[in-house]
Point group: C4
């Protein structure tokens, strides 16, 4: 495979992992993680079949922080999936570096259901909201890592950070700090960030533009 005249494909750590199977595996993890979020929302153990209808209704309303966190996490994963799609839409080389960086990102996305459970079960406290904010911050940086690997795999392409990253890498740490002092506000900020990313223009700038000298792999 290292012989002179052999095609460059496979050299320099580039694997011939089909882009289709790479994307469908990633899509699967995104779709599963987003759907698993709900499994981590629980009724308080104090309410039961014997509680009577009005106590049950009260319990269903009192877990509103869990609903808020569900919306924030669901929206974040959904938006991440959109950006992930936009990024790889134009990518043509799935190198080994891309695969490893992507596994780190997927590992953090898959971690979100647990973080969501922590907030639902322990309430919106200083500890839990900071924990949530740190997870979001880690996701923003992991996504940056994927972007860097994609750009490295396409020399000569338009190398610009997307708005998602520039905002995310400052906003999530900020929301974490805010959450340290006012937990509820921290979660609301994280939810608003997902709404912000859902605006048309912000998704669009996440697009990655490969340069002209990229060899098509598959």
């Amino acid at each position: 495979m290292q012989g002179a005249g052999a095609p460059a494909v496979g050299d320099n750590g580039a694997m011939t992992l089909g882009k289709g199977r790479f994307e469908s595996f990633s899509d699967g993890v995104f779709a599963i993680a987003i759907t698993l979020l709900i499994l981590e929302i629980h009724l308080p153990p104090t309410v039961s079949r014997a509680s009577g209808s009005s106590a049950q209704a009260k319990a269903l309303l009192e877990i509103w922080p869990a609903y808020l966190v569900y919306v924030a996490s669901f929206a974040t994963i959904g938006i991440m999936w959109l950006n992930h799609h936009a990024l790889f839409d134009a990518a043509q080389r799935i190198t080994h570096g891309v695969i490893v960086a992507n596994l780190v990102l997927l590992g953090l996305i898959s971690f979100l259901p647990f973080t969501t459970e922590v907030l639902g079960r322990l309430g919106l406290t200083q500890a839990t909201v900071v924990y949530y904010g740190l997870t979001m911050t880690a996701i923003a940086f992991a996504y940056l890592g994927v972007q860097i690997q994609v750009i490295a795999a396409h020399p000569g392409s338009a190398q610009k950070l997307t708005r998602w990253n520039i905002v995310g890498m400052t906003a999530y740490p900020l929301a974490t700090v805010v959450g340290f002092f006012v937990p509820l506000l921290g979660v609301v900020l994280i939810a608003l960030l997902a709404v912000f990313y859902a605006l048309p223009r912000n998704v669009r700038v996440a697009r990655f533009t490969p340069g002209p000298n990229v060899d098509a792999v598959r």
Copy 2:
């Protein structure tokens, strides 16, 4: 991208999200949500390994409301998936509005396992059945939102509300009201609605007919 003469694709909030990947992500969430329903059905905590076979048999029969809710929720998600498929079968443009409306719909579909657990654990009471009915009502309106976005993305297409929506937007609130007074009847109505939608003609009218002046995207 805003230059004169440039292709309209990408303008006006239209993203070039591939329809294939959009559908496969949606299919994934539908398939996962429908399969997760069972995880929220539990044995009563009072029955155990030491209970003896006849007490166990009794417990397995006594959770029949959970079975009923499982059937109703499973059928509803299955029918929603069928309608979703019929709707996007003819759609050719996946705009940003479609994506956001679809995420809202998927977020509510993914929420159903929790609602199913609420009914299973707390029984068929006024509070839980109304909660279930409101979730179903929200799903009906979210589906209307997706339809409106799909129609907006295809100007000149046949813009008619499908029978699914007209029935759903009146029947689910009605079933909710009925459930307030007679909980069991409310759940039975919701199950019957799924059966009604499963009739051939009702699925067929959910079809969406794009007009002649729609540009093919991908």
Copy 3:
């Protein structure tokens, strides 16, 4: 759609549900149900972090019935998926009847994780093994229903029941009766049935042969 000269597609309850999306939704449910089985296997609540290593090792060995049921259920779903694939490999028309029968089958396949939990938590008793056997019997008959619908959608095709069904529709009720008297033997029989179906010849005869006068849909 009922006009003379119009293509037959869409008439007689035949929907134009793409076979690809139908198969990928079914595959998704099979893959998820088979993977969820493990979530229903639990350690006994009596063992904990404080138990000491040898008590923990004992607890991990004592849940062997859960392992046996895991193997039996995993193998059954895996084989069902293989047969499902072989059946639809040759099918060309996905009618409304096929879709509804398939949803019933998927609903029962998705139910298996709960049955598995029942056996794991309550042990191999008369009640739980009969419950397991009845679920398997229902799956065998639901699969027959799908086969009947597929054959009905392809008039003129080779209409023979497969060995899977003939064996399954007698063997599962038999295993249920055996399980009523000797629970462990009932589960072993169900596990052996999956092994039997895994033999090359048995999968191969599950193939469905359409006749020459079937119109290709898509």
Copy 4:
């Protein structure tokens, strides 16, 4: 099908299971198993909403062994998926033997979330780490079984064991023995093995090279 002159396809236990559907089912199980890992990570039951933020923070830090096991299991499944992909990338015949060996592998991969829960709930003890190591050893041998079946299906192909297997079949038993004496070290070794496999060269040698005389099936 056994007639003289008939195509070899379908004989000798070779099924015509489409490679595409085989791969997508396997991908689904990998993606689901990797995402389900998080569901088995739990907060200690002693911490609650009433614990106060600093006790909560302490509890979130104290479950670090669960994080370590999550990373090790996630990386292992991810790398297994990569190797699985590389193996089947070049394979052209999905025989019955391949399917059965693959189901055994998937059944063990799906088992990992339970093993991960055992470690998370019972801590890193002699019993739990040996249990974990034995599961990993079984996965290494099951993967060898799949490789043997793939090679058997392609007579004349380059029949070499990959480095994954040679290392895995000695390293996982070794890590199990080490874990018997120093539990933490056993888990760290298993995590390091995943990192080792993630190095570019080790993934690349897992490639399987079919010989020239292999008939293309589909």
